[in-house]
Symmetry: C2
Subunit: 328 residues, 2 copies
C-alpha cells in the first residue's frame, strides 16, 4: 500500500514541475489507478494538483496547518483565543461555540475548524468552507453592554478584520455595510454575530468569522464566482492562515477594549474610513420595503444614514444592501 | 384503596367546615394515617387544607384548571396563544418554548405549565412556581424589528400584563422599571424576555411571564414574604387563571400590534402612567457602578432617564433598581 505521504513527497521533490503518471506508478510500485485515487484524496484534504493527460501531475498548492498549539503559544496576556477548540471537521463552528457559550465558556473561547460541513452565513444561507483553505472560526464574547450595542460589535468585528487583512495582504479591502469584506466588489469574508439577551442585557455573543484565504476558483460553484473571491485569487499567492488568525485576534481585542473603554465613536470613524458603501447609490431591502439612496454615514447606534433622491435622510437599522447602482 | 376523589368529595360536602379525622376514617373505611397521606397528596396538587388537631380538616382552596381546550376555544382571529403546549409539569416553560422557537414554531406559540420544577427568573435566579396556583407561561414572538427594540417589548409586556390584571382584580398594581409588577411594594409577577439575534436582526424572542395568582403565604419561603405576594393574598380571594390568561393574551396582542404599526411612543406613555418608579428616589446598580437618583421618564429606546442630586440627567439602559429610598 502506498500512503498519502509517499505520493506527496514525490510531488514535492519536483516543485512546479509535472510528474508523469507512468513515472509515479513505477517509482511507488502501484497501479496508475491507485495513483489517481491518492491524488483525489490529497485534493479532498486541501491540496491542489494540476492534472494534464499529456504531462502528468503538478502540485500547485499545499494547505498550511492551523494548529491549536501554534495559536496558543506565548499569548498569556491576550483574552481572545486564550482557549482554542480545534476541529479537523465540524458541522458549523458557530453551533459548536454556541454550545460552549451556553455551558458557560469564558470570553475569548475560540472554535476553529479546518472544514465545515454545514457552515452558515447570514439569514440561514450556506457558506463555502472547504478543508484546509480558509479560516472558519467562532468566538464567545461576553461584553457587559446593553443589547443595543450588539450591532456596534458587528461593525467593530468588520473593522478589525479589514485592518488586519489590509496590513497582511496589502490588498484593497473595503467594508460593505454592515459587515461584508470586499475586494473589487467581490466578497472575501463573512461575519455573523449571534446574540443571546435577557431583557436589556446581552448574555453572550457568538461571533462567527469566515475568511476565504487560499481558496482557488475551483473551490467555488460557478454561479458564485462573480460575487466571491479569496485572498489567494486576488494576490496571486497563498497566505499563512495561522498568521492571519493571530494578527486578527490581536487587532480585534485591541479595538474591543477601546470600545469598552471609550464607546463606539472611534470605531464608527474607522468603519467609515474603510467602508466602500458610503457615497455609493444602492438599493436597500428592509423589512418595511425597498428604497434607493446614498449611504452618508453611521449613526452612534450602528445604523446607517441614507440620503434619498429628494434630499431626505432615513436611518436604516436592518437591511440587505444590493450592488452599487450607476448614479442616475 | 381510597382515591383522592373520595376524600375531596367528602371535604367538599362540608364547605368551610372542619371534618374530623375520625369521621373521615370511618366514612371512607381507611386508617387515619391513610387519610393524612391523602391530605398531603392533595396539598401537593395545589389544594389547601387547614388541619387542626382538635377539629380535623377543612378545605380552604381548590386549584382551578387551565386547560388547553378552554384557551383555544373561539380564538380564530387571535395569534397569541393560537397554538398551546400545555404541561402538567415542566422544568421551565422558558426552556420548552425556546426549543420550539429554535425548531421554527410560529409567533404566538404558547407554553403553559401547571408546575415548574426549575422556573427561572432574571439573571439565573429561581422562581417559585408551585402546582395549580400560578400562571407560568412562555410565548414565542417573531417581530420584524431591529435588535434595539427588544427592551421596548419587555416594557410593552409589562404594560399589557399590568392593564389586564388591574382590569380583572381592581388591585393597585404598578410597574417597577423595567418589568416587575408590584402591589404595595411587593412583587406579584415576573417577566423575562430572552432574545436571539443575528447581527442587527431579531430572530425570535421567548417571553416568559410568571403570575402569582392564587398562591398563599405558605407557598413562599419566609424570607420572600416581605418581597413577594399574590393576587389572592392581596384581594382576599382566588381568581380564575384561565380568565387571566385569556384577557392578558388579548391585551398583549393588541398593544403589540399597536407597537408594530405606530412605534413605541404610545406604549412608553402607558408605561409611564402605570409606573411606580417615576418620581421615587432609588439606588441603581449598573454594570458601570452604583448611582442614586430619581427616574423621570422613559427614552424612546426603552432606557430610563434618571435625575441625580446635582440636577444632571443620566440615561440608564440596564440596571438592578433597589427599593425606594426616603427622600433626603
Amino acid at each position: 500500500m502506498m500512503s498519502h505521504d509517499q505520493l506527496l513527497d514525490l510531488l514535492r521533490r519536483h516543485p512546479n514541475q509535472y510528474v508523469s503518471g507512468a513515472m509515479m506508478s513505477e517509482e511507488l510500485n502501484v497501479s496508475r489507478t491507485a495513483v489517481w485515487k491518492q491524488i483525489r484524496k490529497l485534493e479532498g484534504a486541501g491540496y491542489e494538483i494540476e492534472a494534464s493527460t499529456r504531462l502528468g501531475y503538478r502540485l500547485v498548492y499545499s494547505p498550511d496547518a492551523i494548529s491549536s498549539e501554534e495559536l496558543t503559544e506565548a499569548r498569556s496576556s491576550q483574552r481572545f483565543g486564550q482557549s482554542v477548540h480545534y476541529y479537523e471537521q465540524v458541522k458549523s463552528t458557530q453551533d459548536a461555540a454556541r454550545e460552549l457559550a451556553e455551558a458557560g465558556a469564558p470570553e475569548g473561547t475560540l472554535v476553529l475548524a479546518e472544514e465545515q460541513t454545514g457552515g452558515r452565513g447570514r439569514m440561514g444561507r450556506g457558506w463555502v468552507s472547504p478543508q484546509g483553505k480558509g479560516i472558519w472560526m467562532s468566538m464567545v464574547m461576553r461584553p457587559h453592554v446593553p443589547i443595543h450595542c450588539a450591532p456596534q460589535l458587528t461593525l467593530l468585528t468588520a473593522v478589525a478584520l479589514c485592518r488586519s487583512l489590509r496590513r497582511l495582504t496589502v490588498l484593497p479591502i473595503g467594508i460593505k455595510w454592515p459587515n461584508d469584506l470586499l475586494i473589487h466588489g467581490k466578497k472575501i469574508s463573512g461575519i455573523l454575530l449571534e446574540s443571546a439577551a435577557e431583557d436589556e442585557r446581552l448574555k453572550y455573543i457568538v461571533a462567527g468569522v469566515g475568511i476565504s484565504v487560499n481558496l482557488s476558483e475551483r473551490d467555488y460553484p460557478e454561479e458564485l464566482l462573480t460575487k466571491a473571491t479569496s485572498l489567494r485569487i486576488e494576490a496571486g499567492g497563498a497566505f499563512s492562515r495561522s498568521a492571519i488568525v493571530k494578527d486578527f485576534l490581536a487587532e480585534w481585542e485591541t479595538l474591543y477594549d477601546l470600545f469598552l473603554q471609550e464607546g463606539f465613536s472611534a470605531i464608527a470613524a474607522l468603519w467609515e474610513s474603510l467602508s466602500v458603501s458610503i457615497g455609493q447609490k444602492v438599493r436597500l431591502i428592509t423589512p418595511q420595503g425597498e428604497l434607493e439612496g446614498v449611504p452618508v454615514g453611521l449613526e452612534e447606534s450602528g445604523a446607517i444614514r441614507v440620503e434619498r433622491a429628494d434630499g431626505s435622510i432615513v436611518t436604516i437599522f436592518s437591511a440587505e444592501m444590493g450592488e452599487p447602482l450607476s448614479r442616475s
